[in-house]
């Protein structure tokens, strides 16, 4: 390519505050594990975290931990351990990297916070299988390991329309979690407390949405790679005042860039959409690669997944169900296509990149012809790259870079 290769990665000053927040969160969890109170619940990323928080649990998110294993490339050492223990290389590499790390008695948290020697021992594990079966298997492994209850919600997938019956079914399952969770927590459920946590959670989600939507302008002030890092608090500090305050600070910084006409990518030429999981071990490399191509990935389904649909909180269980069924991953192909077309228009994208993550079939949305349909409907080119969320054995550096460069060369041709 004839494009200048000047790579200027522009960090956000807010990152320092984010690191403090994350440090506080992990240290509190560690303290809870050491002192035995409050009780600790492990929760899947889109599990009913607000319910757990309302019951006083300290909540740990294994998917966040797995993403750390990917980002630090520790997963290269830990995945083979889980494979050797009988967990296939073809299943979720979040699962295999996390279980492998546990079997090696390691956590990337120790490198950042030396006082943390292990993940916090759970008193209960709670999942929502909306994204896949694997999360259930993952939590079940720990349930057996720690001899603690594993509770779950089964959300239908391939949803074409959100109906009252659908929501009632999911809401009923979440409501049914209350008695066992009360028992483990040793605390009575308080519906107003749940409403208060959910209200905070929705406010935080709304603020995160405003941060992401700042990218409608040209040049876009942040990139997918920035957003994938800055969504950390949205994931692990859901339903807290801190997360709301943090995104206010970040939004101010992002809006400052907008006011100055400053983009995350110097000389932004092309705007792309990322569909699918990040490739955590290549996040920084790819960020710099795209900066070199003067191309910004301005929006992604992944980062949008922490914007939760919400209605009124009269029946908070119904609203939790709405959030669950409102997730992209739960929808059918037509609904996904409509959403992506809408995103293309909202963010003015020139192309879509679909990441086919080898071990994450449910979040690899290229597999049923969607890129072709999308391209036909919008005239916007698509590119599918093959990689994985955490398993870099499934990623070819040369092939991926060539495919991306060729895609940009195609956009250059117009």
């Amino acid at each position: 390519m004839d494009v200048g290769r000047i790579v200027t990665f522009k960090p956000f000053a807010s990152s320092a505050r984010m690191r403090e927040l994350m440090a506080g969160y992990f240290r509190d969890l560690n303290r809870a594990a050491l002192e035995g109170r409050p009780k600790i619940a492990w929760c899947s990323s889109v599990g009913p975290a607000e319910l757990l928080l309302s019951l006083g649990y300290a909540v740990f998110y294994p998917e966040n931990h797995a993403a750390m294993l990917g980002a630090t490339r520790e997963a290269r050492k830990t995945i083979p351990v889980a494979n050797a223990a009988g967990y296939s290389p073809d299943i979720c590499s979040y699962l295999t990297s996390d279980i492998g790390a546990y079997l090696r008695r390691e956590t990337p948290l120790s490198k950042v916070y030396p006082e943390i020697v292990t993940v916090p021992r759970p008193d209960v594990l709670v999942y929502n299988n909306v994204q896949c079966r694997d999360v259930q298997e993952w939590f079940s492994w720990y349930g057996r390991e720690f001899a603690v209850p594993v509770l779950g919600v089964a959300t239908p997938r391939n949803i074409a329309a959100i109906t009252p019956e659908l929501l009632a079914g999911i809401a009923g399952q979440i409501r049914a979690l209350v008695p066992p969770l009360e028992k483990i927590a040793g605390r009575r459920f308080d519906i107003d407390r749940l409403r208060a946590v959910m209200s905070l959670s929705r406010d935080g989600s709304e603020m995160w949405k405003r941060v992401l939507e700042a990218n409608r302008v040209r040049p876009a002030p942040l990139s997918f790679f920035d957003a994938a890092v800055h969504m950390g608090p949205a994931v692990v500090l859901r339903g807290t005042e801190e997360v709301l305050a943090y995104y206010r600070v970040l939004l101010r910084e992002v809006e400052g860039r907008v006011a100055r006409g400053e983009g995350a990518v110097e000389g932004e030429r092309f705007r792309l959409y990322w569909e699918g999981m990040p490739i955590w071990g290549k996040l920084r490399d790819l960020a710099e690669f795209f900066i070199g191509l003067r191309t910004n990935i301005v929006a992604s389904t992944y980062c949008n997944s922490w914007i939760f649909e919400s209605g009124d909180l009269a029946d908070p269980f119904l609203d939790l169900a709405r959030s669950s069924a409102g997730l992209f991953i739960a929808w059918d192909e037509d609904a996904k296509e409509r959403y992506l077309r809408d995103m293309a228009e909202t963010y003015g994208v020139h192309g879509f990149i679909f990441h086919d993550a080898k071990t994450c079939p449910h979040n690899s949305n290229n597999r049923y012809g969607l890129p072709g349909r999308l391209e036909k409907a919008t005239g916007i080119p698509t590119l599918t790259i093959h990689g994985d969320v955490n398993d870099l054995r499934c990623y070819s550096e040369d092939q991926t870079r060539t495919a991306i460069e060729a895609f940009i060369e195609r956009l250059e041709e117009g």
Partner: protein
């Protein structure tokens, strides 16, 4: 200005395609006419192989030394040739070279040493989309090289062997390693060598046809197409229509790169 010019004093532009198995060079003069070409096995020293190929091509073009008015590098090793005036992906260069040869809308299949690409090209030579094989070597030149090693047969004999086959054998695995196991199974069953080799060709055809819908005119390029005319015949049979193989099918990417070099120079001096 280069110091040493071929007879006539024309300018010379180079396309350097550093592929995974071989380095290919095409030289064009200032009118876009063919001036020289060369191919070298890549080996373990990429820069040495590239320099040797450039030397060879320069010699063919009548240059005393490889000095060019522009050089575009392509292929997996494109960024290693830092002397290039620009680097372009092999997708763009193959499309450019193929359209130069064919001059109409077509689907290009390039079967290289390490990858297989399918590029859809419109009537203006623009790329409408492309697909590359996944990480596995099945359906690429490396697959045939691996099989030749396994069979203890020279790769250069494959085409004649396949041509003499008398029965169809299917090798169905996606994976080169699994395909090798299938070959062993065929050997154990006493299947003749020509039939096995034809089965390997059939496997390449099948893997390629699984990658995309091959619409309109189909052009085949790359070392595999250049050296195995019988495989092209099999492709045509499977496709149900003739395919086009350019005269220098292994050099399409290098040709495209040389055209880019010429166009860049022309753009600067318009």
């Amino acid at each position: 200005m280069p110091e040493h010019r071929p007879p006539g004093g024309s300018r010379i532009f180079a396309g350097l395609d550093i592929g995974s198995s071989a380095v290919k060079v095409v030289l064009l003069d200032g009118d876009g006419s063919f001036a020289g070409h060369a191919v070298r096995v890549l080996g373990s020293d990429l820069r040495h192989a590239a320099a040797a190929a450039l030397d060879d091509a320069a010699g063919e073009a009548g240059l005393k030394r490889p000095s060019f008015d522009g050089l575009v590098a392509t292929g997996f090793g494109r960024s290693a040739w830092t002397e290039a005036s620009a680097a372009k992906t092999e997708i763009s260069c193959h499309a450019k070279g193929s359209y130069h040869d064919v001059r109409r809308p077509h689907t290009l299949i390039d079967i290289g040493g390490q990858d297989c690409k399918i590029i859809r090209i419109d009537g203006q030579g623009r790329r409408m989309g492309f697909r590359m094989n996944r990480k596995c070597a099945a359906g690429t030149g490396a697959f045939l090289e691996e099989a030749a090693l396994r069979l203890r047969v020279g790769l250069e004999t494959f085409d004649d062997l396949a041509r003499s086959s008398t029965r169809d054998v299917e090798i169905g695995s996606y994976c080169t390693v699994f395909a090798a196991a299938e070959i062993l199974h065929l050997i154990r069953r006493g299947v003749e060598m020509p039939d096995i080799v034809k089965g390997l060709f059939g496997s390449i055809v099948q893997r390629t046809m699984e990658m995309d819908l091959l619409e309109g005119d189909v052009v085949l390029t790359g070392g595999v197409a250049a050296h195995h005319p019988f495989l092209i015949r099999m492709f045509e049979t499977r496709l149900g229509r003739p395919v086009i193989v350019p005269p220098r099918a292994q050099f399409t990417g290098a040709l495209g790169a040389a055209i880019f070099a010429l166009e860049a120079w022309s753009g600067r001096h318009a």
